[in-house]
């Protein structure tokens, strides 16, 4: 089973990367971009087909490793 985990910075947290990208896009003349925030995506291949247990495993993975919940939030999506 395939799943995607998206980890983004909490909205109050400074995102220096996003800020730099915003500036660069502006000076490259890309039109209409107001703000950019950068996050991480993890494409995960899971064994088995049980959605509930996969969800639990990924939540566990996020809490333990993939996200630092001090500054980040995460979301798990399934391809289906």
């Amino acid at each position: 089973m395939k799943a995607r985990v998206i980890v983004t910075l909490k909205s109050a947290v400074l995102d220096p990367q996003g800020k730099a990208i915003e500036g660069a896009l502006r000076s490259l003349g890309v039109a209409g971009v107001e703000s950019v925030r950068q996050g991480k995506v993890f494409d995960v291949e899971l064994i088995g087909n049980d959605r509930a247990s996969a969800e639990a495993a990924l939540k566990d993975a996020c809490e333990k490793l993939l996200a630092n919940t001090v500054i980040e939030t995460y979301k798990v999506e399934f391809a289906d």
């Binding site: 910075l9 909490k10 109050a12 947290v13 400074l14 995102d15 220096p16 800020k19 730099a20 500036g23 630092n68 919940t69 001090v70 500054i71």
Partner: protein, 737 residues
Amino acid sequence: MNLIPNTPRITPELVAEHGLKPEEYAHFLKLIGREPSITELGIVSAMWNEHCSYKSSKVWLRTLPTKGPQVIQGPGENAGVVDIGDGLAVVFKMESHNHPSFIEPYQGAATGVGGILRDVFTMGARPVAALNSLRFGDCHHPRTRRLLAGVVAGIGGYGNSFGVPTVGGSVGFHKRYNGNILVNAMAVGLAKTDEIFYAAATGVGRSIVYLGSKTGRDGIHGATMASAEFGADAEEKRPTVQVGDPFAEKLLLEACLEIMQAGCVIAIQDMGAAGLTCSAVEMGAKGDLGVDLDLDAVPCREAGMTPYEMMLSESQERMLMVIAPGKEAEAEAIFRKWGLDFAIVGKTTDTQRFVVRFKGMVEADLPIKELGDEAPEYCRPYVETPRRPVIGPVDIRVTLSVADALERLIASPELCSKRWVWEQYDYLIQGNTVQRPGGDAAVVRVDDGPKALALTTDVTPRYCEADPFEGGKQAVAEAWRNLTAVGATPLAVTDNLNFGNPEKPEIMGQFVGCVKGIGAACEALDFPVVSGNVSLYNETNGEAILPTPTIGGVGLIADLDKAMTLDFKASGEALLLIGKTTGWLGASAFLATICDREEGAPPPVDLIAEMRNGDFVRHLIHDGIATAVHDVSDGGLLVAIAEMAMAGQMGAALDGAPEGLDPYAYWFGEDQARYLVTVPGGQAQEVLRKAGASGIVAAKIGKTGGERLILPDDRPIVVEALRDRHETWLPIYMGAS
């Protein structure tokens, strides 16, 4: 003028949440004569917390020696300033970021480095070196690996990008840091003696300017958190960690130095803990002026920020300046060029009041001097740490041979090579790193030479726990010794005093003991304290860290040609031991690592012998007689010899323990004030004679050469194999999961 809004009402709960004791709040009420606004409560809580006010430590810090002909600026400014001749000064300070690093190791450590760099370039100095002193929990503790990996990556991530070489430090492990790691960062910069910048504002009606990054809701209550003992609810306090932006800081550095050069700056203060509040109050109070701030002008990252939030935000990479009259436009142009925010947010006044305005309302109106001067100051009760018994060799049973014990020690978490750590730091950038991490002290060339700075950080928490006074002395003495060993003349120190909860008399006793010890040693060694930092409440669930007063030492090498290294250089040279050996095993690494016993009184430090022996060794270096020098510290004599052998990839034949000394005590005892020196074989007698004539204990204890360390009554130890063990413990530990 609109009245100060009084919503919400200030309840005792709100006061407590701000970390103010009822009597502290009562004192504040008396000072201002009315109920404060919430913004005012925030301001006073920031100014009067432990972190900013030093309320538990101030009385004791005053006892430290801080003066000397070399000292241009002692404690009290952003960093200490010491003269190194030729119109140049070295500017340095150390600071802790312990709590944030425990919660978010990468960002906590990174912003710690950012903060201390800012302290140094605020004074007008360009940072030329960074160091750090780290303590983690037991290596078997489940969190230790990730904390270590994160902290090291964070220090590197910030310093490497900013462009300062990280040239030294120390790393230790102990279970007493399981719940409270220590991250102490030191920064060192160079400035012209006549171009040092200070925080005190001068002149009435001058523009106060905000520079750098925008203000967000970062670390609000951060300053309060840094002083509060951790409970099981540490998780709840998490969102108070800030994210660092080394790129913005690098731009801030270049922009600040540029506008200082352009003569735009009258006073400057970085926004560190409690950001705008502390920086603005200090600028005004130090200059006997008032400050009038208009928060509508503050560049904000988020919409809807309240005055309370703006005053307490700890967003990084920001500065406050008083600009020279008529220079506003020039300064602004420079900041815009570097892509940084620049806003006039207030002015100096002659009222000695701290006034904060927002949307036509006065949010705060406080007496500025009193915010600093009337901060509570405690003479906290303390009990002296009980003396421990002296442990002699007869009390110790060992099954390992001396060679086996050496192999074990050299590959222990405490004494193993920390290469895995420092290879993640760019220690070469700027092209002036003469001695890299791995020696006794780092050596960094000053501009194009021939002068160089020697830099080190030291403390042995085991000793401080056993006897705070001797431990405090020892930390200073070891720093002094490490500087001496590379041929430097020690100049001055910065300190970072990490302790538990000072409201407990035993902890306060540790603090007092260590400060007294540091004071005694600095006095005796002519090694004044010019800056420092105190971190208290390093406790979790009632268990405190080991008392850890980190000392950052700075020395001067007049001519790089006279710098010294610790590696064996040539075979057939005489190996000399300078200093007296009694075989002191109490509180030693040997006792802790090999016997699993943390007991006994630590080695006493004879400050007169320190000075005499150190001066003698320095002369041997300057006269070109010594070919390698290493101080003897953690692990004792044989560990120190092994370090010289591993660095030089060369062995030595060693004489046995002198008559009457237990071999373990001889090889692994940690008597202080000792150095190992190699000299060409033919010069040994003369050196020993000179030592004797100066009343210095010295002896020839072996001869360099070969590929092995040869002990008289033990198996030979292959240096290469020893090096392998020494180098691989940490990589294996960090790689294994």
